[in-house]
């Protein structure tokens, strides 16, 4: 194997040491025959070799790991010396494809958008990354135009704080849930000014609506179903066309903290009664109860979440339009099929300082219990491909775990106050976190270090979101402003 792209062999005195290496994909299948590679092979050269073996048309980027240790410089340096492996045994090199596009780190504040009269409580980018919606304590939802950083519309219908906003996967509707127990639907394409009337005001919950989840587009081309979880312990599935409750899921005894609509026809609900329940999306029957947490379950994340949230849009199709909803749904289905392999995974974070990784469709026992945090876990998120999990906790740290096994990879320290939310960039190389200490931080996941500090907010940062196309990130804070960050 000395023909392909190996450097000018060093060590004129001693013979160039070689090692027997076997490439293996993430699912465990060996790729190609075992090869004899010189120990000074770098990661770039390994990538070249692998691309040739797989006969890719374009050279794709990969990361190589041996026993979960990434090869950054060369086999010799990273594997043999660091791990002290001998050259006798065959090295199993696992490769994982990286995202083809690279997101540049957001380093500077592009714009500060003020206008809200009270703290900004939640921020959500549209699936096509053109606009962002923010819900605030002054009972309004504002839709901002990102190119000019000005409010496109101010939507008033709530009478109390707007706790959550969610875009439908086709980008046509915005749903907002508030402290007054109402869920308001707005037509995203035609909002303008301050006098827009909501498409629908859905009444039914008796207490604050804490979380919203749209049905994925590949299951419902018209995006007409929405799930809302409330502090009164019930989850209502609404039909947006008829503006009624299709059914209510009322088995939880305490407030619902998180609702997620999975891609396989299951709805997951997490509650303060320490349990997570899975329901069938067709008829609302309880499928499973996932018990295990010792205290309130605060947050959940699905491995397919980014795919479901963006529907047919991906990082290149930002401005695309499809002729009709079914075509868009087809694209979304295709994206989901290729993007997400295997059973859907669910990770949940709780007040008992631990996280659990579940495969709800398979069993009601947790796959892994992930411990290590020293204070409650406030937010968990999967990376867009589902390979990594990040958890933000009140102990001022963020921990990154393997998305398939739940093994702890590394921790990120730097914040001086509780970390409220964290979000991956679209290419998974960067992680952004929002904290009580009024800063956001961008972390590089390759070097596992802080890439940049984003100060500028005057008070606690409550919400952060990264645009699905990776261009911009937005953070909302208690100081009533939103900041747009770009490179």
């Amino acid at each position: 194997m000395t023909t392909a792209a190996s450097p000018a062999s060093p060590a004129p005195a001693a013979p160039a040491r070689t090692v027997l290496a076997q490439f293996r994909s993430k699912d465990g299948e060996p790729t190609g025959p075992p090869l004899q590679l010189p120990v000074t092979t770098t990661a770039k050269e390994l990538a070249l070799v692998l691309n040739q073996l797989l006969a890719n048309d374009e050279p794709l980027p990969y990361t190589f790991t041996v026993d979960d240790d990434e090869i950054l410089t060369s086999i010799d340096h990273d594997v043999l010396t660091k791990q002290q492996k001998s050259t006798e045994a065959t090295l199993i090199i696992e490769y994982t494809p990286q995202a083809v596009f690279r997101v540049r780190a957001v380093t500077r504040c592009g714009a500060t958008m003020t206008g809200h009269a009270d703290a900004v409580l939640s921020v959500h980018f549209a699936p096509d990354s053109r606009t962002v919606a923010s819900g605030s304590g002054d009972a309004t939802v504002r839709v901002w135009d990102l190119d000019t950083a000005t409010p496109k519309a101010t939507l008033k219908a709530h009478t109390n704080w707007v706790l959550c906003v969610a875009w439908s996967p086709d980008g046509n509707t915005i749903a907002s849930g508030g402290m007054d127990g109402l869920v308001c639907l707005w037509d995203a394409r035609s909002v303008k000014g301050t006098a827009t009337k909501p498409l629908a005001v859905l009444k039914g919950h008796r207490d604050a609506v804490t979380c919203l989840a749209w049905e994925p587009m590949h299951a419902n081309a018209a995006c007409s179903r929405l799930a809302s979880g409330s502090r009164d312990g019930t989850v209502r599935i609404w039909d947006t066309k008829s503006r009624t409750t299709e059914f209510a899921l009322a088995q939880h005894t305490k407030a619902i903290t998180c609702v997620k609509w999975g891609g396989e026809g299951l709805i997951y609900t997490a509650s303060r009664d320490c349990s997570i329940k899975t329901w069938s999306a067709n008829d609302g029957k309880l499928v499973r109860t996932l018990a295990g947490h010792g205290h309130w379950v605060n947050t959940m994340a699905l491995s397919s979440e980014t795919l479901l949230r963006t529907g047919p849009y991906d990082h290149v199709s930002a401005g695309k339009k499809w002729s009709n909803a079914t075509e868009a749904a087809e694209v979304a289905r295709e994206r989901y099929r290729t993007g997400h392999k295997g059973a859907e995974r669910l990770v949940s974070g709780s007040d008992d300082f631990t996280l659990f990784l579940w495969t709800p469709s398979a069993s009601k026992q947790a796959t892994t219990r992930m411990t290590g945090h020293q204070a409650l876990v406030n937010h968990v998120t999967f990376s867009p491909s589902g390979a990594r999990i990040a958890s933000a906790s009140f102990d001022k740290s963020i921990k990154v775990w393997d998305g398939f096994t739940g093994k702890f990879l590394f921790g990120l320290r730097g914040h001086v106050g509780a970390v409220y939310q964290c979000v991956f960039s679209a290419d998974e190389r960067l992680l952004m976190s929002a904290s009580k200490d009024s800063t956001c931080k961008v972390w590089d996941l390759r070097t596992k270090k802080l890439k940049g500090d984003l100060p500028g907010h005057a008070d606690e940062v409550y919400a952060v979101d990264w645009a699905p196309d990776g261009e911009r990130a937005c953070s909302g804070s208690k100081d009533r402003s939103l900041k747009l960050w770009r490179q």
């Binding site: 009270d118 703290a119 409580l121 939640s122 605030s136 304590g137 002054d138 009972a139 709530h158 009478t159 109390n160 704080w161 706790l163 959550c164 402290m179 604050a208 804490t210 979380c211 502090r231 407030a255 903290t257 605060n298 947050t299 406030n378 937010h379 409220y420 409550y462 919400a463």
Partner: protein, 260 residues
């Protein structure tokens, strides 16, 4: 004005009239008319004072009536959204607001500055100099009186060497030098003899602290490595403060309580 409580005594002994409650009730019912009559008949300064008092009374009455009415009325008027908006994940979580944290920090700093610690014996009797020191007369004619001898128990430390006798002003007699103290753990109740490391503070005077004098109420530092205490970070604790609780010069031993 009755002298002494003969009226109350009589009521206690013999009780009230049979129609007492009835009479009181009727008197109250009539009082409305009576007040009205006096209000009309009063004139001059008395009237002015009465009217002023009555005016304030009426305002109070109207306020309470209105408050009661509001309580009974059920309105569904849209209220303003309350202040203190928090995102969904912070609902029902009591977070100490920044003002409270800052004021606590300031209070802590003030306490530290004032030197007020939470100790078992907060107040101790101050010891005067003539009780603490005995004057020594030196010199050929025994007229020089600048030397003092300490009459209380002292702690001098390991590396202590006396100053040249010609220059030492304070003499700490070897008989009153102690190295170990009996330390009681307040929660466990057990007592250990532990070697002392030093005298941290004598409440009577900083001069006594410098000399190492140990009296009741003095804070001393003791070597607790024998107890095997470990901090939350995993480090071994080897020194802790204790406060002396007896008069060592009278008892011949130093008894103290550990400050945990």
């Amino acid at each position: 004005m009755p002298q002494n409580e003969y009226i109350e005594e009589a009521i206690k002994r013999y009780g009230r009239r049979f129609n007492h409650e009835e009479r009181m009730r009727k008197r109250e019912a009539r009082s409305v008319h009576k007040n009205s009559a006096t209000a009309q008949k009063l004139h001059g300064l008395k009237a002015k004072l009465h009217n002023k008092k009555r005016h304030t009374e009426k305002i109070e009455m109207k306020k309470t009536i209105k408050a009661h009415e509001e309580k009974n009325a059920k309105t569904t008027a849209p209220q303003e959204p309350q202040a203190g908006a928090v995102p969904a994940y912070l609902l029902d979580r009591s977070s100490q607001n920044n003002a409270k944290v800052l004021s606590n920090m300031i209070k802590q700093k003030r306490k530290e500055k004032a030197g007020k610690w939470n100790v078992p014996l907060p107040k101790v009797r101050g010891i005067a100099e003539d009780e603490m020191f005995k004057v020594l007369k030196t010199g050929k004619r025994q007229t020089k009186q600048w030397k003092r001898m300490v009459t209380k128990v002292t702690f001098v430390g390991d590396g202590f060497t006396r100053k040249p006798p010609k220059y030492e002003r304070f003499i700490r007699p070897m008989g009153l030098r102690f190295k170990r103290a009996n330390v009681t753990h307040p929660e466990l109740g057990a007592t250990f003899t532990l070697p002392m490391i030093g005298v941290k503070k004598n409440p009577s005077s900083p001069l006594y602290t410098q000399l190492g004098v140990i009296t009741k109420g003095t804070i001393i530092e003791v070597n607790v490595s024998e107890l095997g205490l470990v901090t939350t970070g995993g480090k071994v604790v080897w020194g802790k403060y204790a406060q002396v609780t007896n008069n060592p010069e009278n008892d011949g031993c130093i008894n103290s309580v550990l400050l945990v």
